[in-house]
Structure formats: C-alpha cells, structure tokens
Symmetry: C2
Subunit: 477 residues, 2 copies
C-alpha cells in the first residue's frame, strides 16, 4: 500500500571518468601526463577492466586501454564522462524505503541538471505519495507546467531531464512500496489508472484518453501468456558494445568475435565521422557476422539532410536495418528512420509525418514512465515498433521495465522489436540488468532498478569523490 | 578595432517581482499578507508606478494595483517574476568597455540558467575577441556543440538560453568597441563576414552559404535610403501593454483609450484561459479601436490542436491578424500562424511545412545575433514577414537591432511587418528603447542596448538584493 509523505529529496552529481582512457593512452608520451594515467589506474581501472572482461576476456592489455579510451565516443560526443544526476527521495513512513531516480548525462552540465532538480524539489517535498500517484497526471503537469519554470523548457533540455530524474525516483518509490518491479506494477495496473498517469496535453489530435483506454483494454487479452513468455525468454536485445568510433580494427574484430560467441545476433555500429573509415568498419563487421545477422547504424545527429542522403547511399550496401539520428533531433521533416526525441509532441509529429520506421524511447529524456506511456500508446496506434535507446548510465536498467510492459500490455508483438544493450557501468547498481541469450531477463527486485551502490556514488561524486579528487589535479596539470 | 582578451565573465540572477502585485492585491484581506503588500510598496512600487504612468496617467490608484498585478499574466504563465540572467564580460584591453548580455526568464529557474552560463564560461575566458569574431561560426559551434554539454540541449532550453546570454554579451562588446549600435555594425558589415557568423548545420537543405550570400548582396541595393528612412521614421511597433489576462474591463478600456491617444494602431490581446472572457474582452477592444486598426491574439501555447481550431472559429469574428502560439512550440504540424521557436531547425521546418504566415524571432531564445541571422535569411527566402517577440526584460532593447537590420539589409520591406512593444521595465537599462509615433527609433549608442543600471542590478539580485531581502521573508510567512 502506498504510504508516507515525502520528507527529503537529495540530488548528487555522479560522474564516471569514461573519457579518461584517452588521456591515459596519450599519457605515455609525456612525464606530466603520466600523472593522469596513474590516477586513472588507481581510481577507475578496476571498473573499466571489469566491464571489459565481461565483453571480451580475450582482448590484450593494450587493446583494453584503447577500447576503454573510446568506450563511448560517437561522431558528436567525442569525450563523454558518463554521468548521472542521482535523486533520492525519502518519506516519513519509517519503513526504510527510498525512491532512487537518475537522469543520464555526459559529464559537464550535470551540475546544471542538479540545479534544475533542486528548482523542482518544492513540488515534491511535503506531498503525500498517495496524493501524487492518486493524481499522477496532475502531479506531472505541476512539474512540467510550473508558471515560471516552464519558460526555460518547456518539456525539453535541462528541465525535462531533471523532471525525468525526479519522476523516476517517484516511480521507484511507488514500486518498492508495492513490492514489485516497475514493469510488473504497470502490467498489473488497471487501464484506467494507467491512463490517469498520462498528460494528454498537445497530443489529443492523435491520441485521446478514450483511444488509450481502448488500446490498453485490448492489451489485456493474452497478457498472462506474454508475461510467462517474458519471464522464461526475456526481451530481445542488440549490442552496441563492440563498434564505437575509434576502436582499432583489431579491437573491433576481437570484440565482435566475442559477442558472436556470447550469442549476440544484432549489432549496432557508430558512423558519421569519416565515410572511408565507416565503409571499412562496416565491411569488417558485415564480413564477420555474415549476411543474415542484423546490423544497425547510428550517426548521432552528425549530418545535414543532403549529407545524410549521400552518406547513407554509400553505406546501404552493408544492409543496415536502420539509420539512427542522421540529423538534428528537432528536424521532423528531415526524416529520421529512428530517433530519440525530447518529448511526446515531437514523437507525435514523427508518427504523423510517417518520418520514422522505428521509434526509440528514452527513459531519461522523456518525462519518466508517464510520458513514455503516452509514446508507447501512440506507437501502438500507428503500429510502429518501439526499439528503446539504452546504454549510458542506468538506461538499460530503466528501459527494460518499459519495453517488457509494452510487450505484455500494449504491443503484444516482438516483430522488428529489439532493445539496445551496452555492457557498461552496470556494476555500480544494486540491481543490475541480467542478459541471457542476448535477451533482457525481467527484473524481479521491487522498484525501477537504478538504486546505486552507495560506495559507487561516494567514490564518483563530482568534484569531491575519491576518484575526482585524484583526477582533477592531474587534469589541471 | 577589435581588441583584448576576455579576462572575466560574471553572471547575475536579476529578478523583478512582477508577480507580487497579485499578492499585494490579495493582501488586503489578511494582516499577514499586509507585510508583503508593504514590502512591495517600499521595494518596487516606484518602478511599477513609473511604468504605469507612461502607459496611462489617467488610471486611478486602484486600477494601477490591479493592472500591475496582472501586468504580465497570460494563459500559461500566471505568476511570472520577469527576470534575467545578466552576463558581463570584461577584457584586458584597459579601455573600460564591458560587454553586457541577458537572457530573459520568468523568475524561478533563473539560477539554473546562471549555472549553465558558468558551465559555458570556459569556452569564452582567455579567448581573444579578435579570434572569436574572426571565426564566429566556429565559436558559435564550440558553444553549442561541446561534446559533453550538448547532451543536455542540444540548442534548446536552459543551455540555449545561456548561450544566448553569453553571445549577446559578446555582440555588445564587439559593437561597443566599434563604436556602433549592433544594428549599424550589422548593416555596415561585409556580406561575407555576416555569413561567417552563421552556423549552417542542419539547415543546408533549405539555406546554403551561397543562398545567404546572394540574399545579402541583393540587400545592398537601396540600403542607404532605407537606413535614412529608419532613422527618420523608425520601425513600426504594436503594443501588448493593454490587454493582459486578468485586467478588469474598466482597466482595459482606460489603457486602450490611452494607447489610442498615444498613437498606437496595432494591439495584441492575450487569450486562451476562458472563451467567454476572451469574447467579451475582444469585443471591448474591437469596439474601441474600430474596424480598421489591427488586432492580434496570443494563446501562449494554451491549446491542443482541436481546441485551437474550435476556439479560434469563435474568435474569428473579431478579425485578428494572427493567432500566436495556439499550441505546443514543438508542434510543427500543429500549424501555428505565428510562433516563437527555440532554434533554427524548428523555424526551418515551419517554413518548409508552410505552417506559419508570420515568423516571430526572439533575441534570447535563439542563439543571439548569429542564429537570428540564419532565421532572418530563411524567412527572406520563403518571403515570410518577420514580426519579433519582445517585452519581458530587455527583449525590446535587443530585438530592435535585429529588425532594423532586417529591413535595411535583408527584407527591404515593411509590408505586414511589425515589432512587439511592451512598456515595462525599460527604466532599468542605461540605453532604453525610444518609441515615437508607435515606432521603434533606431538606437544610436554603441552596443546591444542591454547594459543595465548597476543600481538596478544590485537592488534586484536574487536572493540577496535589497528588494528580495525585504520580500522573501514576507513571502515565507
């Protein structure tokens, strides 16, 4: 049963120095830089080493450094420190249950999101959880339509990321109190209650409350069987772990070989920085995986529209299933094949304009479960398969709940559906994702799966955690 | 000549308690609240009184309170404290010249924008101004495409507002060093140099560098005459000062009568909260201004698409020239007649989709002069008249430069063109706008006109300025 009044909200800036491998690799050439290489080894090498071992135990020590250096680089984000604004809310219920929520960021700017979470805090504090979830639409709108704060959004950028972190924590708290993982909370929820969580503002020309209810009621048929199926087989995933930009060809081959051995059948490759380089890397992967397995491409917003057309005509021979974010995420008429967008209004138009063939939800860019529900329902109405964005910090942990719910209660189909997976930083979470036979196995622990290990948070808090205390002086030199 | 290295960047959170009139008005019923009414009188009454006097010297004291109470309320932003993140940059040139830039906000959340400005500061500090303006496109892209920071945008929301504030300060500094107002700096600038300020990323499918150059070169013809004309007659304005939501009918009539007396011929009315109320207020205004004068309407994103259609079919009989922001600013396919958007990519699509008949630039939501240039040029290509958004804090001061430049060097037409004007808070600026015969007279002081009076900044800094030190304890009670 839902209980307690929100008595505390804290938010921390947690950063993992994923860009530093690069500095470390460069470091070998100068004495000065050796300091930062050392710092990396003592602070974070275990983390990266662990992460790498599960992906590719066979890679040589040298390859590990260069792979780690580029672990997350793409054509637009060349030096990310995977980070999170980490929100914890507590109640006065004295049951020891905390709601933990994150939004994912790339390092710099996390402090801006933290600042925005604090600006939203007064909407959460001293509220009864019962009142929040009893009128979740109203609460959602309060957060997103604050008469002063909405000016610096609305429902986009920093403020919307902060909204997601706060709401993710509320959903985690709610699910934990109910003793269920979020996906199961959603699956068991009455369709009317589900609909009451959604803000239909700006989307009623495409999806009304009645439409949503009808879809959810139809989704009740066969639900039990699909739940059983999910628990037995999991939700199909694809891997982005082996083809970031900047991997050497040898590393790419080794990682790809290992992934094939681990049972992966779908692979995503980052493209967009250099056409010749893309052609060579795509050729290597296609040769290794053979003509039957699936290859996706992601340009991370690198191109203008004419450039995208030209570039993709060259890459078409490698038979990609999709090209992801070829251009600006704001460019609806630029016809992305798959796109992660910042709110339901953008998704609505992409569907209206028939501008995408796959739809990519994001657990932190959209306003948590609430806004994702509206997008899942619109996708169902247009019969567009949803293939979530994941990776980063905790995105896999969060989005598995949404996509498993989608299959059981909304789409009832696995055709052309697949959820991204990146084997990275899961070791910092108390309830990390479980992948079996290239599928997400439904989590069983109550909550939304992004409670972090307190030790990890403390170590990686920016700028005062142990990791950064060592790294920052070295970086400044 | 351009000179100096940026040696200092400071940013302050400046808020004007424009929402407090409302509290003051309510205050009369309780002893507690009298404190806040008193506080308002001592802190800000002079400001609001001054502002009101110029608009309507005839209004009674009571009417002044209620008018002030609602001075800036619309259907979505019901209690704004007009505010600014105020950036000042200094150089080591020892000439005493500072660049001042703002972005406009509504109170809460200004601290988030301030935080984002600080996150951008390292891109500006220690740069030679010569190098910045020598490769302004590169500098613009550095600010907007920072590999880590762009994740929390890109080019939208908090980060883009912060970018605007920083770049507005750079333009102010540049123009002051050249001894020219920004509009004149632009008018005198070689077309190639102008084009080098623009980032064409994501818009080349509609506007290439060559297109831009061609438009600007054509704009050279007749430039001298148009400049003379502007200096003599100014740029046509319309007033939003008299028809905010919540004015009593008496106040509305008095303000409207005074505006007619002052020579205004174009009037904007806020709509969207209550249809019956809108009908009555539109009737009053149309009756007063007669059938020939121009009436515009602004719904401030209040409606869903079907609602907008229904509502406007009822308001059509008052013959509005346009309906502004009927729905979400992200809804390109929702067919706004006029829209203020967050970046050039959204404007590009609105033009491509023929979704607007007027285009509304904003000096603080877009990335300063640089991004506004690209939008002015695209509007010219599609032959859509530009009618800027203004009001707020300093928006009139800024945008006059852009629109005067547009007339002289780009559009060469005044047909269907008119720039918003709101008579509010100008007294805090060192170089306030000058309105004559309902037109913006071109500013003559060097710079971008948003240097604030230091005394105003100090008094209104949040939360430590004199005004807030008095108000905040009263609000907490």
């Amino acid at each position: 049963m839902v209980r307690g009044r929100i008595s505390r909200l804290s938010v921390r800036d947690v950063r993992f120095p994923t860009s530093l491998g690069g500095h470390g690799a460069d470091a070998m050439v100068s004495a000065d830089a050796m300091v930062s290489a050392d710092a990396m080894v003592s602070a974070d090498a275990m983390v990266s080493a662990d992460a790498m071992v599960s992906a590719d135990a066979m890679v040589s020590a040298d390859a590990m450094v260069s792979a780690d250096a580029m672990v997350s680089a793409d054509a637009m984000h060349t030096d990310p420190d995977y980070s999170a604004a980490y929100v914890v809310i507590e109640t006065d219920a004295e049951d020891g249950i905390k709601g933990c929520g994150i939004t994912f960021t790339l390092g710099k700017g996390t402090e801006v999101v933290v600042c925005a979470v604090n600006a939203l805090a007064h909407h959460v504090l001293n509220k009864d959880l019962k009142d929040i979830v009893g009128d979740f639409r109203g609460f959602y709108r309060q957060l997103t339509s604050d008469g002063q704060l909405r000016w610096i959004g609305p429902e986009k950028g920093v403020v919307h990321l902060a909204t997601a972190a706060v709401l993710n924590a509320v959903w985690d708290l709610w699910a934990k109190q109910e003793g269920k993982p979020v996906w199961k909370l959603l699956v068991d929820m009455d369709p009317r209650m589900l609909v009451s969580c959604i803000d239909f503002r700006y989307i009623t020309d495409v999806l009304t409350e009645e439409d949503a209810l009808e879809i959810l009621q139809k989704g009740q048929i066969g639900k039990k069987e699909r739940e059983k199926q999910m628990l037995a087989q999991g939700y199909p995933a694809y891997t982005t772990s082996c083809a970031w930009l900047g991997y050497s060809d040898d590393t790419l081959k080794q990682l790809c070989a290992q992934a094939l051995k681990d049972g992966w059948t779908r692979f995503k490759v980052k493209v967009g920085a250099d056409l010749q380089d893309d052609m060579r890397r795509c050729q290597i992967i296609r040769d290794m995986i053979g003509p039957e397995k699936t290859l996706m491409m992601d340009a991370n917003q690198r191109w203008d529209v004419p450039e995208a057309v030209e570039w993709m005509s060259k890459l078409a021979k490698f038979k990609p299933l999709w090209i992801e974010e070829p251009t600006s995420p704001d460019d609806i008429l630029g016809h992305a094949t798959i796109s992660k967008c910042h709110n339901r209004v953008i998704f609505k138009q992409l569907l209206q304009a028939k501008a995408l063939q796959f739809l990519q939800i994001d657990s932190c860019r959209l306003g948590s479960v609430n806004e994702n529900l509206s997008v899942l329902l619109m996708a169902k109405k247009f019969e567009i398969p949803v293939c979530p964005h994941a990776g980063g910090v905790g995105l896999c942990e969060l989005v598995q709940h949404l996509i498993i719910f989608d299959y059981i209660s909304v789409s009832a189909s696995l055709e052309n559906r697949v959820c991204e997976y990146v084997d990275h930083l899961h070791e910092h979470f108390k309830y990390p994702v479980m992948i079996q036979r290239a599928s997400y196995m439904p989590p069983k622990d109550p909550g939304y799966s992004t409670e972090m290990k307190e030790e990890s948070v403390k170590k990686h808090q920016y700028p005062d955690g142990e990791v950064w205390k060592k790294l920052l002086p070295a970086q400044e030199n």
